[in-house]
Amino acid sequence: MALAKRIIPCLDVDAGRVVKGINFVNLIDAGDPLELARHCDREGADELVFLDITATHIRRDIMHRVVHQTADQIFIPLTVGGGMRTLEDMRRMLHADADKIAINSAAARDPSLITRGARTFGSQCIVVTIDAKSRDANTWEVFVHGSRRATAKDAVAWAQEAQDRGAGEILLTSMDRDGTRDGYDLDLLQAMHACLSIPVIASGGAGTLAHLRNALLIGQADAVLAASIFHFREYSIGQAKRYLQRYGIPVRLEAP
């Protein structure tokens, strides 16, 4: 047996409410992050990601409360991303009991944030999120600020720099595929795999279980981030894992 490939649900949280998350059956309150996190945990999610899409800084406290309540009851790793710009922002989120911090725009603007974050809190806490858009054959450009602003950075080179600066993982979203349900960008995943020694979490484009399988087998991703594939109640996390296992992919499956 070997290290399991991970299935990681992602919940978008705005002012303490899940706005684009997983539409599970039988939930008392589908907008309650804690309720959704509990459900993911029961279903066999390997980790959880909360993406804080709250625009204003003042409301960050709400996210701290959500994270703290969740970590108090859910005993799988919890990554929190969105809007963190400084070491102090990261420290406060870790003190709220997040296990990992995902940084994106702030890291692209000031790459030393990765170095300082890794040195202060350890590489295991630092997930660098990269939103990549296809340019020419086998080149991708990094976009920031909710994928609205181009940076002229090459995505693969940026991922390598993030790794060298101490990032523990790369959370890689294909902007071309995000929301399409046409499958992950396998060329992008392969290009990253060829250049990185740290784990890559694939994101953007999952529509079927075969897409998850391809990202893990062909794209060689270490984990798949998925929201919408579970959103329409087509598949449960357990179903996805049993499917992957049939293709020889190591997954964590066990009765509690």
Partner: protein, 153 residues
């Protein structure tokens, strides 16, 4: 380890061990139980167990990543109260780039395969260490923590 010494905690930990208080080291906490660490240069650890801590060297295993991040299977190699009531093999959550190498094979309590077979749990007398994170390992992890908590002082 620097932090432990700087905060004046290394001696109290050793003193508690001398008084036979059960000790559980988690992740880096397990690594600190050994004599010598090789992370960022050579440094002295608590020296409660003979052995050293070294970087995961996986050059011979293409495709495997360092750090090891995620769920892997833990296989106990001998009975222990720490694993009371648990399955013969169980999943736990790992995040690490270094691993402990025991000098005494009898200190190894469980192994896990990530290319290499690493010591994922160790124990000697009332001293325990786990390389994984029981606090992030759902049911199995909580069971281990409960088992540890019920060890008599």
């Amino acid at each position: 380890m620097h932090e432990l010494i700087a905060r004046g905690l290394a001696e109290p930990v050793k003193e508690a061990v001398r008084r036979h208080v059960p000790l559980l080291g988690i992740c880096v906490g397990m690594q600190m139980l050994f004599e010598v660490g090789l992370e960022d240069g050579v440094h002295q650890d608590l020296g409660l167990l003979p052995g050293r801590v070294q970087r995961l060297k996986l050059e011979a295993y293409p495709g495997l990543k360092v750090p090891q991040i995620g769920w892997n299977q833990v296989k106990p190699t001998r009975p222990s109260p720490l694993f009371d009531g648990m399955n013969p093999v169980f999943w736990c959550y790992f995040v690490h780039s270094y691993h402990a190498v025991c000098d005494r094979e009898c200190d190894i309590l469980a192994t896990t395969c990530h290319g290499l077979t690493i010591s994922s749990a160790v124990s000697y007398s009332h001293i325990f260490g786990v390389q994984f994170h029981p606090e992030k390992s759902q049911h199995a992890g909580l069971r281990i923590l409960r088992n540890f908590a019920t060890l008599s002082v």
